[in-house]
Amino acid sequence: MAKVPEFEPCAVLDMFSGTARPIMQSAAWRISLWAALAFACGTMVVFVFLHQFVAGDIQRRTNAWLAGEAGVLSDVASRTPKDALNRRVVREVAELASREVPHKRGSGPGPNDSVFFLQTAADGSVSLWVGAGDVNAHLAAVRAGNLAPEKPTTLHVDGFDPPFRVVSVKMENGSKIYLGLSERDELRVLRELRIRFVLLWLLIVLIGSAIVFYSTRRVLGHIREITEAASRIGENDLSSRVPTTRRNDEVAQLAITLNRMLDRIEKTIHQLHTITGSLTHDIRSPLTAVRARLEMALTAGKEEGSESIVSAIEDMDRLTEFLDKSLDVAEAKANALRINRVPIDLDELLRVMIDLYEPGMSEKGLSIQLCSAGPLEVHADAALLHRMIANLFDNEAKHLPPSCTVRISLSGSDEAASLVIEDNGPGFDSEISAHLFERRIKGRNSSGHGLGLAFVDAVVRAHGGTIEASNRGEGGARLALILPRSAQLTDSRAPSMTFATAATSSSLS
């Protein structure tokens, strides 16, 4: 029995932590992500259309220019006589035309590399060449291109990175005129358009999603404030309300609705207090009077009948205790138990309790052990906690057969204290195990009014803790209680009462 029972405080305590969630998990993040995605896709589609339109328009202009100039050149070439003058005139016209388009190297010397003019004779040999670069490369490209007459086509020429837009005109004498315009400028314009668009697009998407993120976060922040405030409003703080804003939007409506609901709950709880208060008063006053009369009769000194008076007084005290517990359990089930939290050292409390119960238990042949790592402070209602632990001890003392051992293990983390009470007795009765924490549930051979564990459950619940009952594998009952160490760690997540394993045994209510 020296072994400390193993449980995983971390796993159990996770439910008390984690109020600050990472930003990636927030709804604001998701909303802004989706908004950014939708915006980016939409603008991208618009840009693609725009790009197509601009590219098409530039090509149309290029084609028009090429057709016009080719017409002029073929006109000039066909009209001027076939001599040296012809070549000069055509060359000058071609150079004149090439000046209309921007020069790559500015206005520097040398032929313009964005325009070329090529005239081939009927046999395919070059008869006139105006342009930069190697004529043969152009000739090869033109031949490979297999151009349809008077239809501008895009050609790649060796030695030139940007392609040329080339139009060919067939002359009457069988020679052909090729006029090419580099697409360099067109591509440059489109590239710059794309670069600018992408930069602006990124900027807009980033700014847009940031705006969406911060605005949704603001709205959701209000909701979070409401959530936090609502979860803070526990059973002992029903008077406070969630924050409201002046705006009349959905969030404000939510807050107002919540506050109205809280008003109703507070009213109901208040009514419950009033009813239980007057009820107890109405029952206790006659009880007090009856008890007083019995005491008077007892102290009057007559020996005969004193036995029955004594048992009447004892019955009355039991009735009172039953009344107290019933009301406490009822109030706790309705989340109306009034809790006045003070710091309590659980270790010390358990030692005092053991000191109190040990003689009575050893009288019955029971032994009791405490495994504790030292002082462990919790913020809890002292009176309720005292009675709760007394109930747990009474429960063991009443139901265990002789020569059993009760082991109490206390441990804690920063958030919660864990109290485990185990014995090597017969364990919980399978018949009642599922209803262990309900009122008036007790085993067949049990005495008492069956409120003990219901009361324990009620107190643990009121403090925001959990309780779990199970039968140990090696026999005996096990009750595991988790109590948050301070009120801030209590939240509205409902504590769950579970019964882990059911084994056949006799009673332990």
Partner: protein, 226 residues
Amino acid sequence: MRLLLVEDEPGIQGFLRRSLGEAGYQVEAAADAATAERMAIDTYHDGLIVDLGLPDRDGISLILRLRELGLTSPVLILSARRSVDDRVRGLEQGGDDYLTKPFALAELLARLRNLLKRNNSSPTMEPTRLRVLDIELDLLRREASRGGETLNLTPQEFVLLEYLCRNAGRVVTRSMILDEVWGMRIQPDTNVVDVHIYRLRGKVDTDGQGPRIRTLRGIGYVLRDR
């Protein structure tokens, strides 16, 4: 000592008047807050016993009102609720005490005695030795003896015997013992206090000497001082 009893229930009022009278107090009684306020202003009382559920006003507001008017006497509050509310706790911290109904007369008398003693206690030296007939307690060395013979007591048993000796000749109830010795207002289902008393008696009332710790069934225990 003059007491003012504020209780609307005639049966309880009559019983308390009689019992307190037998215990040597002069008792004036009022059945509602208005009468009580008038009586408290008219005459000085060493102590008050106030029921919280009065027909015309809440007992707490009566006490607060009287405190405003300059009442300094201690108040014993009779409450019909087990879980007392914050205002009662406040008064308790202010030196008053409370008792839940139904109560044992012995407990009421003991609490009243404590309250009244607290109120006129002049700073006297706490005695270091306590003596009841042939039982002697050394409070500094935490040792007890009877008839010169040292009793082998555990620290808790010593505290229990000390409490009984301090109330020698008077009845103490189980809940008083739990409250004073263990510091808890609980009502155990099992006979834990009885076992402690039984063990203590086994050590104190040895053969050949007169029994000192007496059980009053249904009420509590008393340490004889005669």
